[in-house]
Amino acid sequence: MPQNTATVVGSSGSTVTVAISSGTIEQVAWYPPAPAGAAAPSFSGQVVTVPSLPSGDSTVRIDLSWAPGDGDAEVRYPAGSPYAVVDYIFRHSQAGTVYLLLLFGT
C-alpha cells in the first residue's frame, strides 16, 4: 500500500490519534500482518491511539457497533481537530462494521 492511498500518513515513531465521531468502538487491533515489534493500538471512548507509528505500511482494524440513532461516522486525524476529516465510515443500516485504518509511516 503506497503512501498515496494511506488514510493517515505520519512520521515513523510518532503517536497517531484518530477520532471516530459516531458508533461504539468494540475492539482495535493490528490487521495482519502486524508490524514487527510495534506496540498494540488501543482505544478510549471514540479515540484510537497508535503509540508509535511503524515505518511503511500498517493497518489497524477497528470493530464498530452502531446503536439506534447512530449515523455515519467521520474519521478525524489528528483526533483533536474538528476539521481534519480523512474518511467516513458508513452505517448502511447495519448493526456494526469493521473499518480498516490504513497507515503509512515516513
Binding site: 494511506a6 475492539q27 482494524r61 457497533s65 474518511d87 458508513f90 462494521t97 469493521v98
Partner: protein, 538 residues
C-alpha cells in the same frame, strides 16, 4: 394458501423493480447492485467534489473515500460483501438456507394459537416472522377435535420490501423510502403488522344438498336432502397482530446506558466480531486478485456528474468481479450468515433496551361445526437480562360473531390467561439447537360450548332430518386448565420442529382429563431474504 400461490407470489416479488419516486438521475435510485450498495460513498464523493472542485485524489477526505471503492484497499469491506450478495442473491440465499443454523429467535410465533384444532402453541409469543413463515401442526390443545393445520404468516413490511426489491431484513430504523408519506405508512402500518391465515387440513365438514331420489335398496327411504362432505383444506382462521414497542429516545442517556448493559448481556460484540472476521476473510480473497482503481480518472468522472461517476465505478466493479473465483461466493455466503446472526442479536438488544414488547392480536375464527368467533388477545414478552430465556404472557377474550334468535347464551365465549417460559439449551456447543418450553393456560367460559347441528342432519336413532338446523350445548361451563411441556428442535435454514405433550382437565366439547401430543414443523423464510432483494435502506 396453496403451494402454487406461494410460488407465484415469490416469482412476482422477485420480478418487480424497485420503486422510484424521482425523474432525474439519482445515485440512490440506480438499480445496479454496485452503485446501489456504494451509493452513500459515491454521493459523499460527489457532494464534496461539487463543493470543493479543487480537491484531487490525494487530498483528504477524497483519498479516504476512494479507499472504500478501490478493491486493493477496501477499507470498509462489508460494502463489498453486500454488493456481491445482492448481485448473486439467488445462489447465496440457497447456500445460506442450507448452511445457516443461527435462526434462533425465541420470541417468534409461527404456529397457530391455542384454539386451533392443530397447534403446538399453548401461549402466543410477542414476535413474528420478519418476512414469511409456513407452519404445519397436528394435535389439539383446547379443542376436542384433533386436526392438522397449515399456517402461513407474513409481515407486511417484509412483504412490501420484498415486492419493491428492498431488503426485508434490516436493522431499525429501516428508513429507505424517499417519499415521507410512504415512509410513515411503512413505519406505523407495515412494520408492526403480521397477518396469518390458518387452513385446516384433512378435516371435513358437510353441506346439505337436495336429494334426487333413492339409488338402491329394497326398502323405501325417502330423503329430501343429504349431507355432502366438504371443507377439506378450508380456511378456519384469519389473524392480524400489531406489535407495540415502548417509545424511546435513542439519544437519551437512560437509553444509551440500558443499551450498553443489554449489549454486553446478549454478547452482541462477540457476534459482531465473528461477522467482521468473516467479512475480512472475503476481503483477503478479493484484494489478492484486485487491480487498483484509477483514482484520478474516477475523480474526473465525478466532476462531470453523478451518472458518469456511477458508470465509471460500475465498469471498474464489474471488471474486478470477473476475476473472482467460486471461493469468493462461499466466503460471502458465510459472511452474510454471520452478519444476519449479528443483526438478529442487535434487534433483540434493541427490543430489550427499549423495554416491554406488547402485541395486540385479533383473529376471526370459523371452526368446524361451531359458531364463528372474534378473539382479541394481548401478548407480553419479557426477556430477563440475567437469565437465559423468555417469558410470554397472554390475556384474551372471545366473543361470538352472531347470536341466533332464541339463543340461551351471551356474546361472551370465554376469557383466558396463560403463560410460557422458553429456555434455550446448548447442545454440542451450539446454543441454538434446542429449546424447552413450559406453559400453563386457564380459560373460563360462562356457558358450555356450542355445537352447530346443520340443516339436514338426521336425528340420532331416526331417519328424520332436522329441517332448519339447530345449536346444542356440549361440554361444561367453567374452567378449562391446560399445561404443556414442549421441546423445539431448531434445524438449519430456519426449520423448527416443536414436539409437545399436554394435560387438560377437559376440552371444549368433552368432559374429563385429556392427555395429548402435538407435533409441528415450521419454516421461516427470513433465511431466504436475499432472494427477495438485498437493497440496504439508509
Amino acid at each position: 394458501m396453496r403451494e402454487p400461490s406461494i410460488v407465484a407470489i415469490i416469482a412476482v416479488a422477485i420480478s418487480l423493480q424497485p420503486l422510484s419516486f424521482g425523474q432525474n438521475y439519482r445515485l440512490a435510485s440506480d438499480s445496479r447492485s454496485s452503485v446501489k450498495t456504494f451509493a452513500d460513498v459515491l454521493s459523499k464523493l460527489s457532494s464534496i467534489l461539487k463543493e470543493h472542485p479543487e480537491l484531487t485524489a490525494n487530498d483528504a477526505p477524497i483519498k479516504g473515500l476512494l479507499n472504500h471503492l478501490d478493491f486493493t484497499t477496501m477499507d470498509q469491506p462489508d460494502e463489498f460483501v453486500r454488493a456481491f450478495s445482492r448481485q448473486n442473491a439467488e445462489t447465496l440465499a440457497l447456500q445460506a438456507a442450507v448452511q445457516s443454523a443461527q435462526n434462533y429467535r425465541p420470541d417468534k410465533q409461527l404456529s397457530p394459537s391455542s384454539n386451533a384444532s392443530g397447534t403446538t402453541s399453548l401461549v402466543s409469543k410477542a414476535g413474528a416472522s420478519d418476512l414469511l413463515s409456513l407452519a404445519l401442526d397436528a394435535g389439539a390443545l383446547t379443542r376436542s377435535i384433533n386436526g392438522s393445520t397449515a399456517t402461513i404468516n407474513g409481515n407486511l413490511d417484509g412483504i412490501f420490501r420484498a415486492a419493491t426489491n428492498y431488503s426485508p431484513l434490516c436493522v431499525y430504523p429501516c428508513l429507505s423510502f424517499a417519499n415521507s408519506g410512504l415512509q410513515w405508512v411503512d413505519t406505523h402500518l407495515l412494520q408492526p403488522v403480521n397477518v396469518s391465515v390458518l387452513t385446516a387440513l384433512a378435516q371435513q365438514s358437510s353441506t346439505t344438498a337436495p336429494a334426487a331420489g333413492q339409488a338402491s335398496g329394497t326398502t323405501s327411504t325417502p330423503l329430501s336432502s343429504v349431507a355432502i362432505p366438504t371443507g377439506a383444506e378450508k380456511i378456519t382462521s384469519v389473524l392480524a397482530r400489531y406489535q407495540i414497542l415502548n417509545k424511546y429516545d435513542p439519544h437519551s442517556a437512560k437509553f444509551k446506558q440500558k443499551w450498553e448493559e443489554v449489549k454486553k448481556q446478549e454478547k452482541f460484540p462477540a457476534s459482531l466480531i465473528t461477522a467482521n472476521n468473516s467479512i475480512l476473510g472475503v476481503r483477503d480473497i478479493v484484494v489478492k486478485k484486485a487491480t487498483p482503481l484509477n483514482r484520478d480518472a474516477i475523480v474526473g468522472a465525478a466532476k462531470q456528474g453523478d451518472q458518469q461517476l456511477a458508470d465509471y465505478f460500475d465498469n471498474y466493479y464489474q471488471s474486478q468481479i470477473k476475476t473472482l473465483g467460486p471461493d469468493v461466493s462461499a466466503a460471502v455466503s458465510e459472511a452474510v450468515q454471520n452478519i444476519a446472526a449479528s443483526q438478529q442479536i442487535w434487534e433483540k438488544v434493541r427490543q430489550e433496551a427499549a423495554g416491554t414488547l406488547f402485541t395486540l392480536e385479533y383473529s376471526y375464527n370459523h371452526p368446524l361445526s361451531q359458531p364463528d368467533t372474534h378473539d382479541l388477545k394481548i401478548i407480553y414478552g419479557y426477556a430477563p437480562g440475567s437469565v437465559s430465556g423468555m417469558l410470554s404472557l397472554n390475556g384474551a377474550f372471545s366473543i361470538y360473531d352472531t347470536l341466533p334468535a332464541g339463543a340461551k347464551y351471551g356474546r361472551l365465549h370465554y376469557g383466558q390467561v396463560s403463560g410460557e417460559y422458553d429456555r434455550p439449551f446448548t447442545v454440542g456447543g451450539n446454543p441454538n439447537l434446542l429449546a424447552l418450553s413450559l406453559a400453563g393456560y386457564w380459560q373460563y367460559q360462562p356457558h358450555p360450548s356450542i355445537l352447530n347441528i346443520p340443516a339436514g342432519t338426521v336425528a340420532p336413532g331416526t331417519t328424520i332430518p332436522i329441517p332448519n338446523g339447530t345449536q346444542e350445548f356440549v361440554g361444561t361451563a367453567g374452567s378449562l386448565w391446560v399445561t404443556q411441556a414442549k421441546i423445539t428442535l431448531r434445524q438449519k435454514g430456519g426449520i423448527n420442529i416443536p414436539i409437545g405433550v399436554k394435560w387438560s382437565n377437559k376440552s371444549d366439547l368433552l368432559s374429563g382429563n385429556k392427555v395429548g401430543a402435538q407435533v409441528g414443523i415450521s419454516y421461516d423464510f427470513s433465511s431466504l431474504s436475499s432472494l427477495f432483494g438485498t437493497s440496504t435502506p439508509k
